[in-house]
């Protein structure tokens, strides 16, 4: 007998302890669970097991349809998931959702026994208050579903969900501490639901934003491509102006890329496109040099020479809008710099000159020497290579010259360079 009492007492304290433990579990679950439906299931099951009730149901607000749907239910009188709803004008929903006026119920819950008591009070019935007839409808709903206790869950002022509980198997009444516990649960669930909703909408917004950014990026890329094509055709026009150097651009590009590879420069991804574009477009600024200077057979006057030199800045300016190729602009601006610092336009020296520009400089000069120009016949390849070696360290980066000569020798040996085509 004593043992039995002790066990019962133990059970009682265990149960009380369990509430707090359960609350902590809920708090932990909320952090863990991104989808609140699992949390709600967990809570329904917990209440059903812990309190021994005829019926436990959870209703959740569906904002899109403005209705409250039975999502979880346990017990003998359980409502199959998704079968029933209360629309927002349902008396029970109105009772909790409308701005709460002064009612006999100070707390945010409804007990069937309280309702009965209140309705029996003459002054409540006689107070020609629509609230009384509403309460009768609420009572009816609770009786139909065999519900003894209704607990609303709010987030801020929104009714997010409703907890509906049937009576205890033991026939005992709910205690005030139990009701407080249910209220805490309902509040926590509401917060979890709202947080999940908010996260979901954030996710959707993010996705939308990402899509738009991608679209913009695509458009921008297309625009850049178009602009690049325009510049290429400009470069071809420059070539056409100097008929004897026809083919120059593609030759310079080919030899330049090979030299870069020989030097072991990183040509992955965009690096390759950048160097290729710089090699092809390096003289595009000549489009802004008057034909009588560009095609003058004799030597240039100092003034004419200044105009001629301006083609590097003009080229850089043309390339300015190509933000994807910002480096191309820098390379073109520097391709007439000299390794010893005596070049133009800025007199940069050594490693301060971009390696790509140093490559363009060597390849471009080589090509200029071997090509027929309007002012002279082209020289032999051997002569050109000697010239490059001679100017290594002053005009050119010696390492680039070395690599370039290795490339040319190898290509000639393999018969891959057409000397005649080079010289025109």
């Amino acid at each position: 007998m004593t043992n039995l009492t002790r066990t019962n007492r133990q059970k009682k304290t265990e149960q009380k302890f369990d509430y707090q433990e359960a609350l902590r579990d809920v708090a932990r679950s909320m952090v863990r669970l991104k989808r609140p439906d699992r949390l709600l299931k967990l809570i329904t099951r917990f209440i059903d097991r812990q309190f021994g009730l005829h019926h436990t149901s959870l209703l959740v607000h569906e904002p899109s349809k403005n209705r409250y749907v039975f999502v979880n239910s346990k017990g003998a009188r359980r409502v199959p998931a998704g079968l029933l709803k209360f629309d927002s004008d349902h008396p029970l929903i109105r009772w909790f959702a409308l701005p709460r006026r002064k009612t006999p119920f100070q707390e945010d819950y409804l007990l069937l026994t309280d309702i009965k008591k209140t309705l029996n009070k003459a002054h409540f019935r006689l107070a020609a208050d629509s609230r009384a007839s509403e309460l009768v409808k609420v009572q009816k709903t609770m009786e139909v579903l065999r519900v003894e206790l209704v607990i609303p869950g709010y987030f801020k002022n929104d009714l997010v969900g409703i907890l509906m509980l049937g009576g205890k198997f033991s026939g005992r009444f709910f205690t005030s501490s139990e009701i407080l516990f249910f209220q805490t649960l309902a509040h926590d669930c509401s917060m979890a639901i709202k947080t999940a909703e908010y996260n979901q909408s954030l996710l959707e917004q993010n996705r939308e934003l990402e899509n738009r950014l991608q679209e913009i990026e695509k458009l921008r890329h297309k625009e850049q491509r178009t602009y690049y094509e325009i510049i290429r055709s400009l470069a071809e026009e420059v070539e056409a102006k100097e008929p004897t150097v026809f083919g120059h651009v593609s030759q310079v590009e080919k030899l330049g890329m090979m030299t870069a590879r020989e030097l072991g420069i990183d040509l992955s991804g965009q690096h390759k496109d950048i160097l290729s574009a710089a090699l092809m477009l390096h003289d595009v600024g000549k489009i802004g040099v008057p034909d009588h200077i560009l095609m003058k057979p004799g030597g240039l006057t100092p003034e004419e020479w200044e105009v001629m030199k301006s083609h590097v800045e003009k080229g850089a300016k043309i390339l300015e809008p190509l933000s994807d190729f910002r480096k191309v602009k820098e390379i073109i601006l520097s391709h007439h710099e000299r390794f010893d610092g005596t070049g133009y336009p800025r007199g940069l020296k050594g490693e301060d000159i971009l390696i790509e520009a140093r490559i363009v400089s060597v390849v471009d000069s080589f090509h200029a020497i071997v090509s027929n120009r309007c002012y002279r016949e082209g020289r032999s390849i051997d002569f050109a290579l000697q010239e490059l070696e001679h100017c290594a360290g002053t005009q050119f980066d010696p390492q680039v010259v070395e690599a370039f000569i290795r490339v040319i020798r190898r290509e000639i040996a393999k018969g891959r360079i057409d000397v005649a085509a080079l010289q025109h």
Binding site: R77, R78, L83, L84, H90, V144
Partner: protein
């Protein structure tokens, strides 16, 4: 005489819940869990109103509706649909369904609708 209602849904839980709801309201209730069972029950139980789920295995709600209406045109049939089966409502109405109701449903509305169908029968 008691009002007779046949509940047809492949989910037993749904039938049981609605059965006790309507029995509390003085209906005589039978249940069926497939289209074939539904037709059999209409023949043996002779309900006034059938609450018929549109989506079921083994003869779906539409086929059952066709058979019921062919044999017993006086029986009132209310179709129960889910959001994803709403495209079949039109077909159901053409086959002679007397109304439809969408899950999740409002108990108050359901009761009122069933009641109305029974009253309309009595009026004939």
């Amino acid at each position: 005489m008691k009002k007779k209602l046949l509940l047809v849904d492949d989910e037993v839980e749904i039938c049981e819940f609605l059965k006790s709801f309507f029995e509390d309201r003085d209906y005589q209730v039978a249940t069926a869990h497939s289209g074939v069972q539904a037709v059999e029950q209409v023949e043996s139980f002779r309900p006034d109103v059938v609450l018929l789920d549109i989506q079921m295995p083994e003869m779906d709600g539409l086929s059952a509706l066709r058979e019921i209406k062919e044999k017993y045109p006086r029986v009132k049939v209310i179709m129960v649909t889910a959001v994803e089966t709403q495209d079949r409502i039109e077909a159901a109405m053409r086959l002679g369904a007397d109304n439809y109701i969408t899950k999740p449903l409002s108990l108050e509305y359901l009761e009122k609708d069933v009641q109305e169908k029974i009253e309309s029968l009595a009026g004939i």
